[in-house]
């Protein structure tokens, strides 16, 4: 495990933190710097290692839209439940998608009510269930960014090759670039730079982010997921900002190649095509931000194979997931954070997955809030 321990070395962390401190002191003091980590994996690591509280006070981390479970609209969850409740369907899903609330119920509740919902670790597992149950229809709930898209694509190709005709995919895959663009176009945005997603970049490479530097003049550093990766990436971003540079840098070179992964990209291009628009929870409709199966794979497309309600369900009015996702407010500034919306009773999906900003703050990060409250009580 030395490969991991090296990226959690306290001495190196202290050196990096000292350098970050020096650079932060050179920044203009008009307002705190806002750096967005796009990926939910980063959000999780930042809270797990308490990284935010180690940073200088004039650096704020904004927890972006990179948790695919968190940005899933309620109507799509309702569609999943409808598919799962079909009497002949075995509905297969990744674990953390099971708790996302729909307007009626979650997949966990649907299972408790009798639906055959099974947790899988990969689409290959779902295909195996289809092989083993030829008389049943097996639907795989495909979601995630470019990270998980290739494995879905390869599984569909495998199903085609093997002639498995009781397998289909409910496709909710989304793409990262239009989403970042939508965030940058948002009028209430005031971000200064990005920690780019490591796993997505492993597939797409670094070139697709260039427009962020050229058009929006914001630097981006592709970051790994270990605590030192994150600190190092913040340091690289600060270097750029202090030196007045604006580039795409790749901190996660041990995994991410500049050109991405050709084989994965080819499989994705073969199986998927862009949807004109896709609905995001908290962010609304974003053009060309989702994919669906191409016509030649219609047989494997659960949306064409079954009828799903496909209703748009508005987010609960009290939820401010969108503002949190864009960094306009902090999770605890949301009107319902910790009261009506908790990990036990999530209203917004940011409270569902441990990668969601609200769930992460609620589970890991309340220490500061509790201490602040205690101090206030002491002084009162």
């Amino acid at each position: 495990m030395r490969f991991i321990e090296e990226f959690r070395d306290p001495h190196r962390a202290r050196v990096l933190l000292a350098r970050i401190e020096q650079l932060a002191a050179q920044l203009p003091r008009r307002r705190p710097l806002q750096l967005m980590e796009v990926c939910g994996g980063h959000t999780h690591a930042i809270f797990r290692y308490g990284i935010e509280q180690l940073l200088p006070r004039n650096i704020e981390l904004v927890h972006g839209p990179g948790c695919p479970v968190c940005v899933l609209p309620m109507g799509r969850v309702d569609d999943c439940v409808a598919l799962a409740e079909h009497p002949n369907v075995i509905f297969t899903t990744f674990g953390d998608a099971m708790r996302v609330p729909g307007s009626r119920k979650s997949l966990l509740q649907a299972r408790a009510d009798g639906a055959d919902v099974r947790m899988v670790y990969s689409p290959e597992d779902a295909l195996k269930i289809a092989r083993d149950n030829p008389a049943r229809e097996v639907v795989f709930f495909a979601l995630g960014f470019e990270t998980t898209m290739p494995s879905t694509a390869l599984t569909v190709l495998r199903a085609l090759e093997e002639g498995i005709d009781n397998f289909s995919v409910f496709c909710n895959h989304i793409t990262i670039i239009p989403t970042i663009k939508a965030i940058l176009d948002s009028p209430d945005i005031r971000l200064d730079g990005f920690l780019g997603p490591g796993h997505v970049s492993m597939v797409i490479g670094s070139a697709p982010y260039e427009f962020i530097c050229h058009h929006y003049r914001k630097p981006l550093v592709i970051a790994g997921f270990e605590p030192l990766d994150i600190l190092h990436s913040i340091y690289l971003l600060l270097c750029q900002l202090v030196e007045g540079r604006c580039e795409v840098e790749n901190q996660y070179r041990r995994v991410v190649a500049a050109g991405g992964n050709d084989a994965a990209l080819q499989a994705v291009a073969r199986v998927f095509e862009l949807r004109e628009f896709f609905e995001w929870r908290g962010l609304g409709s974003i053009d060309h931000s989702g994919v669906r199966l191409r016509g030649e794979f219609a047989h494997f497309d659960a949306e064409r194979r079954f009828s799903v309600p496909n209703l748009k369900i508005a987010d609960p009015k009290s939820c401010q997931c969108g503002e949190v996702l864009k960094g306009a407010i902090k999770p605890w500034q949301c009107k319902v954070f910790g009261s009506a919306c908790t990990p036990k009773t999530p209203l917004g999906s940011l409270m569902v997955s441990s990668e969601g900003a609200c769930a992460a703050v609620h589970s890991y990060g309340r220490l500061d809030l509790i201490r602040a409250r205690e101090l206030r009580e002491e002084s009162a």
Binding site: M1, I4, R8, D9, P10, A13, R14, L17, G41, H44, F47, R48, Y49, G50, I51, Q53, L54, P68, V69, F94, G95, D96, A97, M98, R99, L108, M119, V120, Y121, D125, L143, G144, F145, T147, T148, H199, P227, P343, K344, S353, S354, E355, H362, S363, Y364, G365, R366, L367, I370, R371, E374
Partner: protein
Amino acid sequence: MNDTLSERDTGRLARGQPARGRVDLSHGSGGRAMRELVDAVFLSAFGQPQAAELEDQARIALAELAKVGDRLAFTTDSYVVDPLFFPGGDIGALAVNGTVNDLAVGGAVPLQLSCAVIIEEGFALADLLRIAASMARAAARAGVRIVTGDTKVVPRGAADKLFINTSGIGVIPAGVQVAAAQARPGDRILVNNFIGDHGVAILSARDDLALQVPVKSDTRPLHGLVRALLDACPVHCLRDATRGGLATVLNEFAESAGVAMFLDEVTLPVHDEVRGVSEILGLDPLYYANEGVLVAVVPGEHAERALAAMRAHPAGANAVMIGEVAEAPAGRVVMRSAFGGERIVDMLVGEQLPRIC
């Protein structure tokens, strides 16, 4: 299938050979078939004279209990683990050790157990024999007797293969007083062993996870270790970190006593294999079930002596100090990372679900 064990099966059992039959509904009927099953499987494995009397209850001499201490401890637990056999153990060993440990962490000397089984129709007799033998071995290792029991057979589909309930009685020696509410600021937190092994062994034994992890369940009796610890120094709290893991136990201590529990991440004993699986699946070793992990909270001034006593016992050879008790934030468990960051370790909401990527 006949309405009794087949003659071939009983013959095989008499010769100490594996049986090939399956349990059917007649084995739960209360009639001859059930009697034969109980004789062939449970009595031949457990083999105690009291159980052989086959009364509806075990009869326990109070004078014998009174010799050991001044309070009776009584506990019950049901075991529904899937799969039934996993690296390092099986449901039978788990059912005995789990109940022994539930008694032990109250400071009790475990003495006698009951064993109730709910068997799904069609369950392989050979597996039942294997599990009964494992229970007998675990009971012998822990020095407890299985003195009463019950057998039910339910139609196929009404239960998942086999469920076991074990209840146990033990006696708490005079003067022994451990309770979650006794944790005090300044106390130290100790564990006897690596965490997460059992949870990962179960995960890796399930067919749906294509991960080969060389980790074994840590199921074992802990009362000997508890005894050694109680003999060495005053102990404020004791608990075995089963379902919900270390995080849940510490949260229960913190809430009961109204104190804060601070953990040092670098000192947490986690095998590399367990850490690796957790990284891949996005799960936290703090929440995995354990079956042989004892969490002890002892006064700060006695911590070193407690640690030495634990390490001197075979079940505590890997014992380490993992943190301390503080005043604030009251009711919270806080993890300190290697480079100074702090985060709350909360109770889990529902079960741990693997992350998508």
